[in-house]
């Protein structure tokens, strides 16, 4: 699960849409596009591309003959398409994105390193932190790991 996925959850996205956003965000940053679109998308929740794009792509997949171009005001749609194994997309001169179905799945290959501003990291982490549960006496007693002394 990417930090972007956790951030989307923290910003109120349902889990399926958060996972889609997480994958798209990786593609988006690999293409070195402006970080502002990611922040804007998170701030738009519960509306905006994080909930709208998956529906638009689902409609496209349901109807292969649809062939319509989709608007992409924040520039995220192509990243969603890039992260989807069965879709290909290209942007027209008018800015609209045409999405086509592939006959075979594609593999998504990352680049080695992506420069991300500390501001974006901090913002995503602050949103992700909204999904974390603070410890309590009860949770410590029934936590994940061993007792404090587990030497053998």
């Amino acid at each position: 699960m990417t930090l972007a996925t956790k951030a989307a959850r923290g910003a109120g996205a349902p889990p399926g849409q958060a996972a889609d956003f997480g994958r798209a965000a990786v593609q988006y940053l690999m293409e070195r596009k402006p970080e502002s679109a990611l922040i804007a998308a998170l701030e738009a929740l519960p509306a905006g591309p994080i909930t709208a794009v998956p529906v638009a792509l689902a409609r496209r997949v349901e109807d292969p003959d649809m062939g319509v171009a989709l608007s992409d005001p924040l520039g995220l749609l192509l990243s969603y398409v890039a992260a989807h194994p069965l879709l290909e997309g290209h942007k027209g001169d008018d800015g609209a994105v045409t999405v086509d179905l592939r006959t075979e799945p594609k593999t998504v290959r990352p680049v080695a390193r992506v420069e991300v501003s500390q501001g974006l990291v901090d913002h995503l982490q602050s949103l992700a932190a909204k999904t974390f549960v603070p410890e309590s006496a009860a949770s410590r007693a029934a936590g994940a790991g061993s007792g404090l002394s587990d030497n053998d």
Binding site: M1, P14, P15, G16, Q17, A19, R23, P46, T51, P54, V55, A58, R59, V61, E62, H84, P85, L86, P105, K106, T107, V108, R109, P110, A112, R113, A129, K130, T131, F132, V133, P134, E135, S136, A138, S139, A142, G143, A144, G145, S146, L148, S149, D150, N151, D152
Partner: protein, 547 residues
């Protein structure tokens, strides 16, 4: 291009049988396990492990570097050994210091890189790493055994064999991080490299090299040499808690591919019409070895040790009736044990694969997930409803309003950002629940579809909270073994069953549960040593210690 006919196979055991937690919690390692696959690859390439640096004080603190070439790439383990005060030693993920820390490095590190790793690896999650760092790990000593072996070696004596057999490792890892954690390399950067294509291959390579280091370390501090059979029995322990459990839920394609490969292997060997005398004899040897392994598998847990003892008794009884002659003998054996408990069934299923590497090892190529989930969409809600009723009857049965069927919730802790399992009606935090409640979500989707018609996308647009459930239902037809078919938020859900399933795929043995949510295991026990790769590097299923 030639068409290759798939080998004959009987019907696969259905997901409705296989994907149940209690059976998954009874799994044993097989020859398809990731560590076995890696070891075969290391042997096939006649890999040579070279210790390129050893800067250790006489008490064993400092660093060492080991390098090897695999698939045309060089990898190095940088091992950092630290003088850890006893009161800081804990296996819990909240630990901040360890006896040793490791990086699997891409290439041969120069002095600057070694210095960087020596400074950062001991800090683990508190540090940041580079794309040349492929795996990050840490390990604590089994203090009792480590000190005993050192003392024995210094006296010029062999260590106590009962203690070797009882503990089985000098150190145990408490985390083995890969795939981009804390800045290390993303898995996709290395997963097409020959030798590292398999799931967790880099992690398994790291663990095997760590085991090698622990042997060198104890011999260094003890100023003596251990016998090869002793070293072979000293694997690497591991403490695994809840952190690993959600993976099986969040990676349904991988889980499907692992299970499907294993079930296909079982189906293939069951279809073998008759066995040669050699194959029959081999199975007899393995049957006996399993009995000895079970006898040597001793754990302190008051619940688990009786279970092992029962399995030992059951194995003696059922294996006495094994008949590997006749027609489709392995199918007959599996049908005979179908009346037994899951421990017996899964032990048998693992054993019958062993002699047939030529028939089943190729299936390991299918255990990865190069594409991520993709499947034909369900265009209308009638189809969606039908898929739920076909594949998710297990999800529709529970009453998720009832306390027992909803008594637990998965969440991520603020303290360490690690998975936890809480008691819904006794702890705070359920409103931040992690979406691992697949069964409940699918039932909610099914209930939400009542009286609805039209396109799935329209329904999803109107009901965005159902998107995850819709995706899981759509995946079910293509990935039939991708879903744990149990209620993961029920009071009765035992995370230990999820851990054992995944760990068995790693190749772990000697499961030693400490509670229903964490366990010790041993990896690489019985595995070839670094200087044994040219021999038979693949005959170490359920190892025994004969000394």
């Amino acid at each position: 291009m030639k068409d290759f006919a798939a080998p004959p196979q009987v019907d696969l055991r259905p997901p409705s049988d296989v994907m149940r937690l209690q059976r998954m919690g009874s799994m044993f390692p097989t020859r398809l396990s990731f560590l076995r696959t890696l070891m075969r690859r290391l042997a096939a390439e006649k890999v040579v492990v070279e210790r390129t640096a050893w800067e250790m004080c006489e008490n064993g603190f400092g660093h060492g570097v080991y390098s090897l070439s695999l698939g045309g790439h060089v990898y190095s383990l940088v091992a950092v050994s630290t003088d850890l005060p006893a009161d800081q030693r804990t296996d819990r993920v909240i630990a901040e210091a360890w006896d040793s820390a490791y990086v699997l490095y891409d290439g041969v590190p120069d002095a600057a890189e070694i210095a960087r790793i020596c400074a950062t690896a001991p800090k683990q999650e508190a540090a940041r790493f580079t794309e040349r760092d492929l795996i990050l790990s840490r390990a604590n000593k089994s203090v009792r055994l480590f000190n005993h072996v050192v003392a024995a070696l210094r006296r010029g004596r062999a260590p106590d064999t009962d203690l070797i057999r009882a503990v089985g490792y000098l150190m145990r890892t408490t985390a083995v991080y890969g795939n981009g954690k804390f800045g290390i390399a993303d898995r996709a950067l290395i997963d097409t490299r020959p030798g590292l294509e398999g799931p967790f291959a880099a992690e398994m390579l790291t663990v095997w090299l760590i085991r090698h280091f622990t042997h060198d370390l104890v011999e260094h501090v003890g100023q003596g040499r251990l016998a090869p059979d002793v070293k072979r029995h000293l694997g690497i322990g591991n403490s695994t808690g809840l952190g690993m459990a959600p993976f099986l839920v969040t990676h349904p394609v991988l889980l499907n591919n692992w299970m499907l490969a294993r079930e296909t292997a079982i189906a293939r060997v069951r279809a073998i019409p008759e066995l040669s005398a050699t194959e029959q004899a081999r199975l007899e040897v393995l049957t006996s070895r399993a009995a000895v392994h079970l006898a040597q598998w001793q754990v302190p847990d008051a619940t688990h040790q009786p279970r092992i003892a029962q399995l030992s008794r059951d194995w003696a009884r059922v294996s006495a009736a094994f008949d590997f002659s006749g027609t489709q003998p392995l199918d007959s054996v599996m049908q005979a044990v179908a009346r037994e408990n899951f421990d017996v069934q899964e032990l048998t299923a693992a054993m019958i694969l062993e002699p047939f590497g030529a028939l089943v090892d190729g299936l390991t190529d299918c255990m990865g997930d190069p594409f991520g989930p993709f499947c034909a969409p369900l265009c209308d809600v009638d189809a969606l409803r039908a898929e739920i009723e076909a594949h998710f009857a297990w999800a529709l049965a529970p009453d998720y309003e009832a306390p027992d069927d909803s008594g637990q919730f998965w969440y991520v802790s603020e303290a360490k950002q690690e998975p936890r399992l809480g008691l819904r009606y006794a702890e705070e935090g359920a409103h931040l629940e992690s979406p691992l409640d697949i069964g409940r979500r699918v039932k909610a989707l099914w209930q939400g579809l009542h009286g609805v018609t039209g396109r799935v996308s329209d329904f999803a647009a109107a009901h965005p909270d159902h998107a995850l459930a819709i995706s899981r239902v759509e995946m079910a037809a293509r990935y039939p073994y991708g879903e744990i078919r149990d209620n993961l938020i029920a009071t009765s859900c035992l995370p230990i069953d999820m851990l054992r399933c995944k760990l068995s795929f790693f190749g772990a043995s000697k499961f030693d549960p400490k509670s229903d949510r964490w366990t010790r295991i041993t990896l690489c026990q019985g595995a070839p040593l670094a200087d044994e790769l040219e021999g038979d590097a693949d005959d170490w299923w359920l190892p025994v210690f004969d000394a």
